[in-house]
């Protein structure tokens, strides 16, 4: 699969979905798009025609506010019709702003309130260990989400139980809702925190498709330890005026802004 083309399609879908729906978080989608494209394009063992296949790798989007991104990723991968994306955020739609599993094949778990996904993934990974199953459990978290104490409970849990079938990927775009991460609640030294909790950590350029793929191919990074990938990303990646801007956590691209964003994405210059 052409991962770059896949990522481009995801971004364009998400831009259209959020614009049409008037929803937020487009910049949060763009920062994790390349991660999702690599995961669903080449890393995850999934079957779009059999979404509940027992041996599938599990994926939870814990930063559920980037729902448009996972919906677009799944639709492009064939889990449900791409045309359904048009309903996002509309009255009566199954495609909510924050990701929901109901009626949407491929969505493993519904989130939206931050700090839930990693615990659930820990339970799933623990269950797989008990049953001697070989599938893996992946979670994507946001950086702001790591303010939530529940994550640190889950981080302790996974290391204690040696869940090397669990992978936490942090979309570290350095910007949260109202300000930068370092202005809001500093996470640094971030990798050291995960390491000191017993995880094996890799830092990676979060928009370098090859680097992402190479990193994921080395999973698990070491036996009997859960794996953490800190992906250094750019919030709003792909659209010049959205990049590294707090504004686009909430702002919706409409009119000229939409057209300009679409042109930039189609050109794929960034």
């Amino acid at each position: 699969m052409d991962i770059a083309a896949y990522a481009k399609k995801i971004r364009i879908h998400a831009l259209r979905m959020t614009s049409r729906g008037g929803s937020s978080h487009i910049a949060s989608v763009f920062s994790m798009t390349d991660i999702l494209a690599v995961l669903y394009g080449s890393v995850l063992r999934v079957d779009p025609k059999n979404a509940k296949w027992a041996e599938r790798d599990r994926f939870i989007l814990s930063k559920g506010h980037a729902g448009a991104g996972i919906y677009a990723t799944l639709a492009e991968r064939g889990f449900f019709p791409v045309s359904q994306l048009d309903t996002h955020y509309q009255d009566g739609s199954l495609l909510s702003g924050h990701v929901s599993h109901k009626g949407i094949p491929g969505v493993e778990f519904s989130t939206g309130s931050l700090g839930h996904g990693l615990s659930v993934a820990g339970g799933m990974a623990y269950s797989a260990k008990l049953d001697g199953k070989g599938h893996r459990v992946f979670v994507v978290l946001s950086d702001g989400e790591c303010d939530e104490g529940s994550n640190w409970e889950a981080i302790l849990f996974a290391a204690h139980h040696k869940l090397d079938n669990l992978v936490a990927i942090v979309d570290y775009n350095k910007i949260q809702s109202l300000a930068s991460v370092s202005e809001t609640l500093e996470l640094e030294p971030f990798a050291d925190k995960w390491k000191s909790f017993g995880w094996d950590v890799r830092e990676v350029a979060g928009h370098d498709l090859k680097a992402l793929n190479d990193t994921f191919e080395r999973l698990p990074f070491s036996p009997e330890r859960p794996s953490c990938v800190i992906a250094h990303t750019t919030k709003g990646k792909g659209v010049s005026f959205m990049e590294n801007s707090v504004l686009w956590h909430y702002r919706t691209a409409r009119g000229d802004e939409f057209e300009k964003a679409l042109q930039e994405l189609e050109k794929g210059a960034l």
Partner: protein, 320 residues
């Protein structure tokens, strides 16, 4: 009740390898045998309730039926959003068990008084709420919530009415048990305070006031049929629960009676009406302090029944 719960859980775990028990580092002297006997069905997740509920959801998503055990408000209020978003929205087989309903841990202080759990948990769509009143109910409820698909909350109490079951009786979630009959009033009771309700009914009987007693072990779903019959056949309702009066059993009964158009002739809730107690004490001490000991129950019922009789007398005189 705790002993009944764990004894039944042993039996269920033997027969059902999909049964899994999680504790939040509580259950000293209670769960040790279970842990030894069923190491693949037991996990102490530590003092981390939010993670505990999330892990339970994860295990349930993978096909297990998970009991989550802790005390007081820890497995409920401390991880309420995990219950709502992770367990309820996904309709998972997670059975939350709280030991220490009401003032069971009275001396431990207000942090350990579980006095708002029924109203909070019953507000959740899809949640079954069970609060047994005697030891038999506690054991049977353990099995019933295990067998019932979906999320359940089981509130266990230190006190209990002992054994009130009849030979061959079958426990059913959502079916209130009639333990006494009488025409003057119906006492509708949830939890271990059933012991006092039964004693109050006995005392009142001697005084010529005859009460029906319903053990409403299931607060959600309530037994609408039993309540409608009681409203028709008895003088009025007194609800009794070791819980704040807002939105618990009494609130649920009131909602059902008014909407169902079978309001009882009188209606009174016995429960906690005061602020959090600033002193500690045994369960019975705190009940007395909150106006829900044997004497308070007896007096409240007698006043309601006699008040109603006086009103009726006045109305009859006026009619003449």
């Amino acid at each position: 009740m705790r002993t009944e719960f764990i004894r039944r859980l042993h039996k269920l775990a033997e027969a059902n390898p999909d049964l899994f028990l999680i504790t939040g580092d509580l259950g000293f002297g209670v769960l040790g045998d279970f842990a030894k006997k069923f190491p693949r069905q037991y996990l102490n997740v530590g003092v981390a309730e939010q993670n505990m509920m999330g892990v339970a959801a994860g295990l349930a998503l993978e096909g297990r039926r998970v009991f989550v055990y802790s005390i007081g408000n820890f497995p409920t209020l401390r991880c309420l959003e995990q219950i709502r978003n992770d367990v309820l929205y996904h309709r998972l087989n997670v059975k939350i068990v709280a030991i220490g309903g009401g003032f069971s841990y009275g001396q431990l202080g207000f942090s350990h008084h579980a006095t708002e759990d029924l109203s909070i948990l019953r507000s959740f769509p899809g949640m079954t709420v069970v609060s047994p009143g005697d030891l038999w109910e506690a054991a049977e409820a353990t099995e019933a919530v295990f067998s019932r698909p979906g999320p359940c909350y089981l509130r266990l109490d230190k006190s209990s009415a002992g054994h009130t079951e009849r030979p061959g009786e079958v426990f059913e979630i959502g079916k209130a048990r009639q333990l006494r009959d009488g025409r003057d009033a119906t006492l509708i009771v949830s939890g271990g305070i059933l012991e006092l309700a039964l004693k109050a009914a006995e005392t009142l009987d001697v005084e010529g006031i005859h009460c029906r007693v319903l053990s409403a072990h299931t607060v959600k779903p309530l037994d609408a049929d039993a309540l409608e019959r009681a409203s028709r056949e008895t003088g009025g309702f007194v609800t009794i629960e070791e819980h704040v009066i807002d939105g618990g059993l009494g609130g649920a009964v009131a909602e059902l009676c008014l909407e169902g158009r079978f309001p009882p002739a009188f209606f009174h809730r016995i429960g906690i009406r005061s602020d959090y107690p600033d002193v500690v004490g045994s369960q019975s001490f705190l009940r007395a302090r909150c106006g829900m000991d044997l004497k308070a129950i007896r007096n409240a019922v007698a006043a309601l029944v006699r008040g109603k009789a006086r009103e009726r007398g006045r109305a009859e005189r006026a009619a003449k």
